[in-house]
Assembly symmetry: C2
Homo-oligomer: 155 residues x 2
DNA sequence: TAAAAATAGTTGACTGGTCAAGTAAAATTA
DNA sequence: TAATTTTACTTGACCAGTCAACTATTTTTA
């Protein structure tokens, strides 16, 4: 009770949704939070975070030459300014290797290790199960529609 | 080059999207990441995180009696097991108060302070601008559709 | 009513993520 | 070609989030 007495007057719930988009934003945040939690549960089996999983996918797709550290960061689904640290931790776990490039000595190309590929392989099925579950829940048309609407939102 | 020689064989990009839902998940993560970044930019003006902003909104809506700590956690858009710490930090900043309840001494109801309300007020317009921007970008029908599809995804 | 279970929250140890400033190499420009 | 700018990171300090174990209180149940 150490607040000013007129706090009562000030506390008034604003109209629930002034803009319709506010409701969409909340729905977006909630839905994504839920999906992220499910993905986390899967990646946790191999002691990695969803972000680290994303890096592994990117590096597997990149092939032998690997990719410079910051380029990996740019390709991530969720932007991650802390990409150096993220990859530090992955290197410690033996999931990736890093070697300063010979041609451009500023760059440090990262490559996935065979251990990293093993981890991806072992997560493949449980990850597919998440996707299959959604695929079953929503029609293909609605998924297309959703993808389209989300693209529109991103402009 | 300290990887096994057959790593070359193992690196093969899996088909881009085995399930259509995979593409939707990526779109969802990307879109939400972008929106969250915009929201962060706004809340940063008042030196709070989007989660703290969310707590302030919940507490303003809750009125005088405030809400028990864990109840606040449950109402959050993104679930947050670290709610105690989160509110610790907010209390330090003078945005909320906490007092162990008289009737049930296990509970610690949290209340927003007038300073907390000030912060909400000062973020109101910039936050509305984010919403207005989306409202302008998408038709009301499409927003409804999006909200519906997201609800379907959450089951 | 005493013991057991459930609830509400706190705390400590840890990991992960973020920001700002710094370094080193390459590219650009004067 | 020397000075400047840009690029590609790295590092240090800090904050936020997570997990497991713990305390205190209330509720249930035997």
């Amino acid at each position: 009770m150490n607040d000013s007495p007129d706090i009562k007057k000030e506390i008034k719930q604003s109209k629930p949704f002034e803009y319709k988009s506010a409701e969409a934003i909340v729905a977006l945040l909630r839905t994504t939070d839920e999906i992220k939690r499910r993905i986390s549960e899967v990646t946790a089996r191999e002691d990695i975070t969803p972000q680290q999983y994303n890096v592994l996918r990117i590096l597997r797709g990149a092939g032998y030459d690997g990719l410079p550290t910051l380029e990996v960061g740019k390709r991530m689904i969720e932007r991650s300014p802390g990409i150096t640290r993220l990859i530090d931790r992955m290197e410690k776990k033996g999931l990736v290797t890093r070697n300063r490039s010979g041609s451009d000595r500023r760059c440090v190309p990262c490559k996935i290790t065979s251990r990293g590929i093993e981890v991806l392989d072992s997560l493949r099925d449980p990850m597919a199960r998440i996707e299959a579950d959604i695929d079953q829940k929503m029609s293909s048309n609605n998924l297309d529609l959703l993808i389209e609407l989300l693209a529109e939102l991103r402009k």
